[in-house]
């Protein structure tokens, strides 16, 4: 068969198996992304990001860069379609997830009406640590927003809408909860006074710097092109030396920053947020750690997923 043979592609619904679309005269070197674009023309509401195409209803989704003629199909291909639901680009996702806590905390700091009793509306706390905590919390999320816009490069294009709602409920809800207590008129400053606050602030700042350094390093790795994959290593920056012990020092530093905030505010909800975050990041770190080990045969043995020598 000469190369100029065109393919026929029928797209079937995964659940009902009915034919949704029939494409003829498809170029053999078309990619799945091209197929998705063609399908999108027939069904405008299913933009490519929310299409999942597969050769077998129970099989894995095909990648956008798979080429039609390289797939195990004849010149007449049956592809199954599943709707992934509305999607949002990663950048948008993180902007929404981080702007929420930033602004919500400020609402509590400023003591807008209806949160605390009327006589405390728009007053400010007498404790300096409360203002410091607001500054730190805001700094944390502003830093994250800046990193999202300028630094991070995301692999998969999008995230489903349902996940975003759930994540936002979590971040926003927790931010409101811990902000409520820190900015409460009956807030009690830390037991060991200024010393406790200063040490905690130091921990917080060091961990924020550390976290940023790791993000910077990881971003540098991605710049080298997707073909030459290398795992992150310590560089001249002392904060990256944590790579000697840990696969995901960005998570380690993140937990550290929140531990700092917990000590600084001496507030149980902050500590709980730290704990839940730690649990979630440990799960992510272990997954990443396993991926590294699988991919690189010379991956250092000393490294643990998130806590040096421990976890």
């Amino acid at each position: 068969m000469s190369r100029t043979t065109f393919f026929e592609v029928e797209i079937l619904d995964t659940k009902t198996k009915e034919q949704l679309c029939f494409l003829d005269k498809v170029e053999p070197h078309s990619s799945i992304a091209d197929i998705k674009s063609l399908f999108h023309k027939s069904y405008p509401k299913w933009y490519p990001a929310r299409q999942s195409l597969r050769l077998d209803p129970k099989g894995k989704a095909l990648r956008d860069d798979d080429i039609l003629q390289n797939l195990p199909v004849g010149t007449s291909a049956s592809i199954y379609f599943k709707d992934l639901g509305p999607q949002l680009g990663w950048t948008m996702v993180f902007l929404v997830e981080y702007l929420g806590p930033l602004l919500i905390y400020l609402l509590f700091y400023l003591r807008v009406p209806y949160i605390y009793s009327k006589k405390h509306t728009f007053t400010s706390s007498t404790h300096p640590v409360v203002s410091l905590a607001c500054a730190c919390h805001s700094f944390h999320y502003i830093k994250r927003l800046i990193e999202t816009i300028f630094l991070h490069r995301f692999s998969h294009g999008t995230m489903p809408l349902g996940s975003i709602v759930r994540n936002c409920a979590y971040y926003w809800g927790f931010a409101a909860w811990l902000a409520y207590y820190i900015n409460h008129p009956l807030y009690t400053p830390p037991s060991y006074g200024e010393r406790q606050v200063n040490y905690a602030l130091m921990i917080f700042l060091l961990c924020e710097a550390g976290n940023f350094s790791i993000h910077w390093t990881l971003n540098g790795l991605k710049c080298e092109g997707s073909k030459s994959r290398r795992y992150p290593r310590p560089s001249k920056n002392p904060f990256t030396w944590l790579f000697v012990f840990v696969s995901c020092p960005n998570y380690t530093y993140e937990v550290g920053a929140w531990v700092g905030l917990s000590i600084m505010t001496q507030c149980v909800p902050v500590a709980l947020f730290t704990l839940v975050g730690f649990a979630q990041m440990t799960i992510w770190a272990r997954g990443k750690h396993k991926t590294y080990i699988r991919e690189f045969k010379d991956y250092p043995n000393l490294r643990m997923p998130i806590l040096p020598l421990i976890l």
Binding site: Y181, H184, L186, Y187, T188, S191, T265, C267, V268, P269
Partner: protein, 243 residues
């Protein structure tokens, strides 16, 4: 006696894709003993209820006659979370944890903690529902593990819930509702500001939130069981495979 089949499913969920292998012979023996003991325990509670009713001649205050075995056997059920975590039972740790914890919560944090509700009739409502459900459930597991499940038990497990589940939920909600005024009055399990950990907890509000959470949760679980029923009882001819 031959070793029972590996990976016997204790729920109707098909776990054929799980990468964990099924329980070994020792685990199966342990699970059989566990389920037999639990069946017996809930039978004791059932008998205790009937005897107390016959002795007193009324439905009131029967809780006191079975208080201790109820607390004991409902608390022991926490082991089921461990079974899932360790992998000898192919159920979700989260789902099982949630179910068991809600029972334990009602037993200890509501009924035990707020003495005044112990004489409420709503307590009998949920205790009766739990008792019948658990007797059927644990005998179902026992027979399944022994690969000898009588259709009657399977039918009962997937049919009785239609009445027992709403009955139990009603009893639970009424009991929590009855506890509310006492919790508010005494400030039970509550912390107020100011305190050095900058934390507050109002158990009264918490209980109200728990009651509200039944609204989305109960229909989901109920209809899940309905779907399971269709799946399991719908194919009478191949019942041995479905387990």
């Amino acid at each position: 006696m031959s070793a029972p089949a590996m990976g016997t499913s204790k729920t109707a969920h098909d776990s054929s894709n799980k990468k964990k292998r099924g329980p070994g012979t020792l685990a199966i023996a342990y699970l059989v003993i566990y389920n037999v003991v639990m069946t017996a325990g809930w039978l004791v509670i059932a008998v205790g209820l009937v005897r107390a009713y016959l002795a007193r001649g009324s439905y009131h205050g029967l809780y006191y006659s079975i208080e201790k075995p109820l607390k004991f056997f409902q608390t022991v059920a926490l082991l089921e979370i461990l079974h899932c975590a360790v992998g000898i039972v192919p159920s979700s740790v989260v789902l099982t944890g949630f179910q068991v914890m809600s029972r334990v919560f009602l037993t200890w944090a509501v009924t035990h903690s707020v003495r005044e509700v112990q004489s409420e009739d709503s307590v009998l409502l949920f205790v009766a529902a739990w008792t019948i459900t658990e007797i059927i459930r644990y005998s179902f597991y026992t027979f399944s593990l022994l690969n000898h499940l009588p259709y009657l038990i399977k039918w009962a497990r997937y049919t009785f819930f239609i009445v027992l589940y709403p009955m139990g939920v009603t009893g639970e909600l009424l009991t929590i509702y009855a506890a509310l005024p006492y919790v508010q009055k005494t400030g039970l399990y509550s912390i107020t500001l100011p305190n050095k950990y900058n934390f507050s907890f109002d158990y009264h509000t918490f209980l109200i939130l728990i009651m509200i959470s039944y609204i989305p949760l109960f229909p989901q679980l109920y209809f899940h069981m309905m779907r399971q029923r269709k799946k399991v009882l719908g194919h009478v001819d191949e019942y041995s495979k479905v387990e």
